[in-house]
Subunit: 262 residues, 2 copies
C-alpha cells in the first residue's frame, strides 16, 4: 500500500462502485432545487476522464447538510464544471456521534483506516500520537480526500470530520464531559466488547469515541491516563493479537452492530 | 495495493510485529521437545536478511497440531536452516469452525481479505465465483502465503485452510448438513446482524460460514439459491453500503464478538 498505488486502488474501486450505483459527489455548496453548483477541478477530471461523463449526464450530490440531490452535469471542461440540481433523493438524517482516535502507524495506514472507518460510520477521525508512535506527522488533507471518496461510495450523507493529529495526552486533557471512550485495551483486562457495549446500549444516543493503540501498545503512564477518563469503557477484542488497523475496523463494526443495529 | 507493494507492506508489517513480540513461524513438521525442525528457504531468508537473526537466537514455532513451542535457531545458511525445539509455550486449543465465502474482486483484494480474516479467526477461506464476479481466477498459493504470514503475526495456533476458488452454486450444492450460513444480504431484508447472532448464540459450537457477495450484488437466481440453504441466516450489516472487503471484515468481527465474546 504505497502512496501512489493506494491512490490508484481507490480510484479503481471508486470507478467500480460508480458503475454499479452511479456517480455520487460531495460538494461544499448549498443544495436546493434549481441551484447550480460548481464542480472542483478534481471532480471535473474524474467525471470527464475517469467516468467519461458529458453535459446532460446524471450525478447525485450531497453536502452533509441538505440531504442527497439528483443533478445533471450542466458544464464540463478541463479543470472546471457545474451541476444543475433538480430534486432531493434523500433527506438529511441523523448519524451516530462516534469519534475514532487512532495512532498512525505508517504513512498510508491512517488513510486506509480513515476510508474504512468512514464506511463504518464514524463522525470524526482524530489521529493521536502516543509514546510508541513512530510516525511524526499525518497528512490530514490526504486523509480527508480518502474520507470524501469513501463517503461518496458508501452512500453516506456526510463526510466525517478529519482532525489534525494531536498528542494523546492533549486530547484526553480536553476530553468532553460525557463522551464515552471505548478503550480497546491490548492488555486484555477489559470486558468482551459485545457484552460491554450491550450493557451501555440503553444510554444511547450518548456521544462516543473509540481509542485504538499503536502496534507496540501504550506505555504504563498512558494506560493510567486513559483509565482515568471518567467515561472510559475498557474492552477486549478477543484472544487474537489484531494489527492496529484491523482492531480499529473490528471495534467500529461491533459498535455499529450492537449500538445501532436496528 | 498492487501485488508487489502489497508484499512489501506485509513484509514491513511482519517485521514491525516481530520486533514487538519476537519471531514466530509456522512449520509443517511435528513439534516436540528435542525435535530439530527444518526451515524452508523463505523462512531462512526472512530470519537472516530481514530480521538479522543468527544461530542461537530464539524463535517460536507452531504447526496447527501441537501448540506453540520455544525453539532456537540451530543452523542458518543461504536458503536453508533448522531450529531446535525446546519447550511448549502454549498447548493447542480449540478454535471456532467458521468459514468465509467471499467473491474475489481484484487480484490483491482477496489476499487482503484473507490476511485480515485470518487475524479475525476464520478456519477456512473459500473464494467463490458468482454471476457478477469479474475475476476469473484466484492464486490460492499466494493467498495461503498471506494467511500463513497473518497467522504468524497474530499469535494464532493454526493457519486457516485456503480453498481453491469454486462456483458458488457448486459450493452450495455440496453444503454440509448443519453448517449455518450467515448471509450478509445487501438487499437489506435480513435482521440486524448482532440481533440475529445473539438469537443463535445458544446453539454454539455449531459450525458456521459467512457469505459476502461481490461488489455488484447477487443476481436474483443466486439470492433464491442462497435463501434455500436450510441453515441460512440472512442478516443486514446496517444502513451504509459497505465495500465487499469491509463487509467481510465487519461480519467476521461481529460474529467473533457476539459468538465467542467471553
Amino acid at each position: 500500500m504505497k502512496g501512489s498505488n493506494q491512490g490508484d486502488t481507490l480510484h479503481a474501486g471508486r470507478r467500480e462502485a460508480a458503475i454499479h450505483v452511479g456517480v455520487r459527489l460531495h460538494v461544499e455548496a448549498d443544495l436546493a432545487a434549481g441551484a447550480e453548483v460548481p464542480l472542483d477541478p478534481a471532480q471535473a477530471h474524474y467525471l470527464r476522464n475517469v467516468m467519461r461523463r458529458a453535459p446532460g449526464d446524471a450525478v447525485r450530490l450531497f453536502n452533509g447538510r441538505h440531504g442527497e440531490w439528483q443533478a445533471t452535469i450542466a458544464a464540463l471542461g478541463k479543470g472546471k464544471g457545474a451541476a444543475a440540481v433538480s430534486e432531493q433523493t434523500r433527506p438529511q438524517a441523523p448519524e451516530p456521534d462516534l469519534w475514532l482516535l487512532a495512532a498512525p502507524i505508517k504513512r498510508t495506514a491512517i488513510d486506509f483506516v480513515a476510508a474504512k472507518a468512514t464506511e463504518l460510520g464514524v463522525s470524526a477521525i482524530q489521529p493521536v500520537f502516543t509514546r510508541r508512535t513512530a510516525v511524526a506527522r499525518v497528512n490530514v488533507e490526504r486523509m480527508r480526500a480518502n474520507m470524501i471518496e469513501a463517503s461518496e461510495q458508501c452512500e453516506r450523507l456526510s463526510v466525517p470530520e478529519a482532525r489534525a493529529a494531536a498528542r494523546l495526552d492533549k486530547v484526553l486533557d480536553a476530553w468532553p464531559r460525557g463522551r464515552r471512550l471505548l478503550f480497546c485495551d491490548e492488555t486484555r483486562v477489559g470486558r468482551p466488547i459485545a457484552e460491554a457495549l450491550a450493557a451501555e446500549r440503553a444510554k444511547m444516543p450518548e456521544p462516543w469515541a473509540i481509542l485504538i493503540g499503536p502496534e507496540g501498545g501504550f506505555v504504563p503512564e498512558e494506560l493510567e491516563r486513559i483509565r482515568a477518563v471518567p467515561a472510559v469503557v475498557p474492552v477486549s477484542l478477543g484472544a487474537r493479537l489484531l494489527r492496529a488497523d484491523t482492531a480499529a475496523l473490528a471495534a467500529l463494526a461491533v459498535w455499529q452492530a450492537v449500538m445501532c443495529g436496528e
